[in-house]
Assembly symmetry: C2
Homo-oligomer: 450 residues x 2
C-alpha cells in the first residue's frame, strides 16, 4: 500500500468509525494480503459480470425470486446472527438510533423479500435501445444500454442495504462488491451467503455478489482506489461516509443523498396551500433526505404567521433569524438561528427560518447553502414560479408541492438506487437505467469511410 | 497549496512538458496568488454561467456567428501571434509534428470560422425534455436538459482547440475555463480576447470564456482540484496528458480519445470485403484515435494473406507474431512483435498482427489490451457476429465496416466534443447533449405526499 492510500485510510477510518459507532477489529492479514484479497474479489467480480451481462431477464428475475424465497426460509439464521450483532452493539454502547437501523425483524425481512419480488416485476434496462438510425450511407447504428460491469457499495450498519443493493445490481446485470458497516458483520455474512447460494441455484455465478467485510477498513480503502476494476462506487449513508468516499475514491463515485432542502414561501402563496405542504415536507418523515430543512419567507408573505404557528404546533423547533422572530404569532416558540443553521441537514423536527426581501435574496441564500438536492417555491405568481424553475440549479425544482415527492418511487422509476446530487451521469432519483452505460453497435456490409 | 497538491503538480508538470514539448515560465505570483487567481476565474465563470444558462438559442447562435466574423477579421493579429509562438518553438527545438499542430494558416482559420457557423446551425440541447409525464396524483413531471455550468479544458499546444471548445461550451450554455499548452500561449491569448469581445458585443458575459494560461502549470493543478467550482474537466490531447489529468483531478473528468483499436478477421470474411476495410481503417488517417492498431487473424482466415499483402503494399509496417510470420506471402516484409506491441497506440503506419485459434482467444486478447474505444469483427458468420457484439465491452462495436466510423460527425451527432472511453455519463462519440445535465421540474397545485 502506498503512502497516499495510507493517508486516505486514516480519513476513511474516522468516517467508518463514525458510521459504525463501534470499533472493529482489523483482519490478521498484513496490508499486502488485504490488497491482494480485495483485488482478487474484484477480478472474480469482473469475470462474473461477463456472464451476468449476457443473462436473460428471465434468468435474472428467477434469481431474484430465488433470493426472496431463501431470505424468507433463512429467517431464523438471519435473526440469530442479527441478535449477535445487536448484542455486541449494545455492549459497545451503540446508540439506540444506530441499533434500530441494525435491527432486522420478521416484518423487515418480509419487506426485503417483497422488494426483491417487486424488482423481478420491473422491466430490464439492459438491451434497451437509447437511440438508433440507419445512416445515409446505409450503416445501421444503435446505442444500447449495457450493464456498467462491477458496482461497489460502501454503506453503514444497515443490513437491509445488503439485500437492496444486491438486488438492484443483479437486475441491472452488474456484479456487486459489498462493504457494509462492521457492526452488521454477522448479519451481512449470513445474507451474502444466502444470496450467493440462490444465485448458484438459479444458474448464475455466485461471485456476482461478494462481500469484502472480512478485509476491514483497509479493504474499503483498496476498493476505493481500484481504478479499472470497479466501474462505479456508490456510498450509501450519512454525510460523513459520503464525503469521505468522495474525497478518497479514485474510482468513479455517484454521490447520493445529502439534502439541505429549501422551501421559498412567496408573498402570493395562500395559507391553505402553504400550511399543508410545510407540515408534510417537515413532519411526515423528518429523517430522510427530501425533508425540508430551511424555510425562506418573503417579507410580505401573508401565509407566514399561519405556517409558523402550524409548524410549532406540530412540534417543530423553529430556528429563526431576527426578522422572523419579530413576526412570530404570540405563543409560538423559537430559538435564534446562527449562521450554522443555514448549512445544517437536521434530519429531525427542526427547521431553520429566514426572511428575505425578494426572489433575488432567496436565490442567493439557496445558492450559498443548498446541497443541490431539492428546492421548492410556493407561489400563485406565474412569473415568480418560472424564474425559480429557471434559476435554481438543483436535481429537483418543485412548484406548489411537498419536497417529499423527490423520490424514485414517486417519480415512477420503479426502484430507487439513490438520489444523486451530482451533475454527471445521473441527477436526482436514480432508477435501474442509471446502473447501466451504453455501447454503440454499428453494422455494415463492407463500409469504408470516404 | 497542500502537500498532495504539490505531489500532483510534479506529475502534471511532467505531462505538461511532454505535451508542450517546450519549457514554460512560471508566473511571478507565489502559490497563494496563483490559487486565488484561478479560483477567482472559476467564481467569475460560475456567475457568467448563470446568465449563459438562461440565454436563448438565438442569442447564443448570434454570439457564435459574431465570434466567427471576428476570428476572420482578426486573422492578421492571430497569424502574427502564431508566428511568434512558432518562432519561439523553433528556437526551443520543438519537433516538426508539434510545430505543425501549433501552426495556424488562413485556411485553418477559415475552418475554425466554418465550424462555429456550423455549431450555430445545430439544435440547442438546453431545454430539451428527456422524459416527462403527469403522475397518477396529477403532479406534472419533466426531466429537462440544462447546462452543466462550468466546463474546463486542459489541452496541448493546438490553438484550434481553444476556438473549438469555446464554441461547444457556448452552444451548450456552459461557461468555460481554458488551459492550453503554453507553447501556443500568444496565439491563445489573442483568440481568447477576440472571443470575449465577441461575447460582449453579442450581449453575453465575456467571462463565459476565460483562460488561465497566465497561471502556468500550477494554475492547471489548482483547476484540477477545484471541487464544486468546476462541473466537468475535459482533457484533450495525448495519452500522457489524459492519464495525468485523470490521476490528479479531484473534479469530475471525462476521459477521451485513447484508442487501441482491434479488428478481428474471422475465418469466414471474404478478402474482397476485408482488404478495403483494413486499408481504410489503417491508412486513411493513421494519426487519429479510431484508426486500427491491432489485427487479430483467425488461424483459418482465408483472407489473411491478401490483407497482409495489401497493407504492406500500402506502406504499413507489420509487427507480427511467429504464427503470422509463417503465413506471410513472399515479398511481404514484417518485423517481429513483442508483447509491448499489443498495448501500443501507434497512431502511425504501423499495425500489430497476431494469430488466434478462435473467438475465445480473440476476445481474451481484446479484454487484455483494449482501451475500450472501438473493436470490429469482419465475418460472414451470423453467430460469430452476434457473439462479438454481445461480449465486447467497448464504446463502439462494429461489424463489417471500418473502425474509422466511430466519430460524432459520422454518427450524426452534429458536433463532437470528443470520444469518451469511460462508462459514466457518456460513452463513445459525445455530442452537445453530453455537455448538459438534467433537472427534474415538478409542478403541483398544493400536492402533499400521503
Amino acid at each position: 500500500m502506498n503512502t497516499s492510500t495510507a493517508a486516505a485510510e486514516n480519513a476513511a477510518e474516522e468516517a467508518a468509525a463514525a458510521a459504525d459507532g463501534v470499533e472493529t477489529r482489523e483482519p490478521a492479514e498484513g496490508a499486502d494480503g488485504i490488497e491482494a484479497g480485495v483485488l482478487a474479489v474484484a477480478d472474480a467480480a469482473r469475470t462474473a459480470s461477463r456472464r451476468l451481462a449476457r443473462a436473460t431477464r428471465a434468468r435474472k428475475d428467477a434469481a431474484l425470486e430465488e433470493i426472496a424465497r431463501r431470505v424468507l426460509a433463512g429467517q431464523d439464521r438471519i435473526l440469530a446472527a442479527n441478535a449477535q450483532d445487536l448484542e455486541a452493539g449494545r455492549s459497545n454502547g451503540t446508540s439506540a438510533a444506530l441499533l434500530d437501523r441494525l435491527t432486522l425483524t420478521p416484518e423487515r425481512i418480509g419487506g426485503l423479500a417483497d422488494a426483491l419480488k417487486m424488482l423481478a416485476g420491473l422491466p430490464d434496462p439492459v438491451g434497451t435501445v437509447a437511440r438508433g438510425q440507419t445512416l445515409p450511407n446505409g450503416l445501421r447504428l444503435r446505442q444500447v444500454h449495457v450493464p456498467l460491469g462491477v458496482v461497489a457499495a460502501i454503506y453503514e450498519a444497515r443490513p437491509n442495504v445488503t439485500v437492496d443493493i444486491a438486488g438492484l445490481a443483479l437486475k441491472s446485470g452488474n456484479a456487486v462488491i459489498l462493504r457494509g458497516g462492521s457492526a452488521a458483520g454477522r448479519t451481512n455474512a449470513v445474507l451474502v451467503e444466502i444470496i450467493r447460494d440462490a444465485l448458484e441455484a438459479a444458474g448464475l455465478p455466485a461471485d456476482a455478489v461478494q462481500s469484502i467485510d472480512q478485509y476491514g477498513r483497509s479493504g474499503a480503502n483498496v476498493l476505493m482506489k481500484a481504478r479499472g476494476k470497479v466501474d462505479v462506487l456508490i456510498p450509501r449513508g450519512g454525510r460523513d461516509l459520503i464525503q469521505t468516499v468522495v474525497a478518497n475514491a479514485a474510482v468513479p463515485v455517484i454521490e447520493t443523498g445529502e439534502g439541505n432542502v429549501h422551501i421559498y414561501l412567496d408573498a402570493s402563496a395562500p395559507a391553505e396551500m402553504a400550511v399543508p405542504i410545510l407540515l408534510n415536507a417537515k413532519t411526515q418523515r423528518p429523517s430522510v433526505c427530501n425533508t425540508v430543512e430551511t424555510l425562506l419567507l418573503h417579507r410580505d408573505a401573508a401565509a407566514a404567521p399561519d405556517v409558523l404557528a402550524a409548524l410549532a404546533g406540530a412540534g417543530v423547533r423553529l430556528h429563526v433569524d431576527g426578522r422572523v422572530a419579530a413576526l412570530l404569532p404570540d405563543g409560538v416558540e423559537s430559538v435564534p438561528a446562527s449562521e450554522e443553521d443555514w448549512g445544517r441537514e437536521y434530519m429531525d423536527l427542526d427547521l431553520a427560518v429566514a426572511m428575505v426581501d425578494d426572489m433575488d435574496e432567496a436565490l442567493e441564500h439557496i445558492r450559498r447553502w443548498s446541497t443541490g438536492h431539492t428546492e421548492a417555491i410556493l407561489t400563485n405568481d406565474l412569473a415568480q414560479a418560472e424564474r425559480f424553475i429557471a434559476e435554481i440549479d438543483s436535481a429537483a425544482v418543485i412548484v406548489n408541492a411537498s419536497t417529499r415527492f423527490t423520490d424514485g418511487g414517486q417519480f415512477g422509476l420503479g426502484a430507487e438506487v439513490g438520489i444523486s446530487t451530482q451533475k454527471m451521469h445521473a441527477r436526482g432519483p436514480m432508477g435501474l437505467t442509471e446502473l447501466t452505460t451504453t455501447k454503440w453497435i454499428v453494422q455494415g456490409d463492407g463500409h469504408v469511410r470516404s
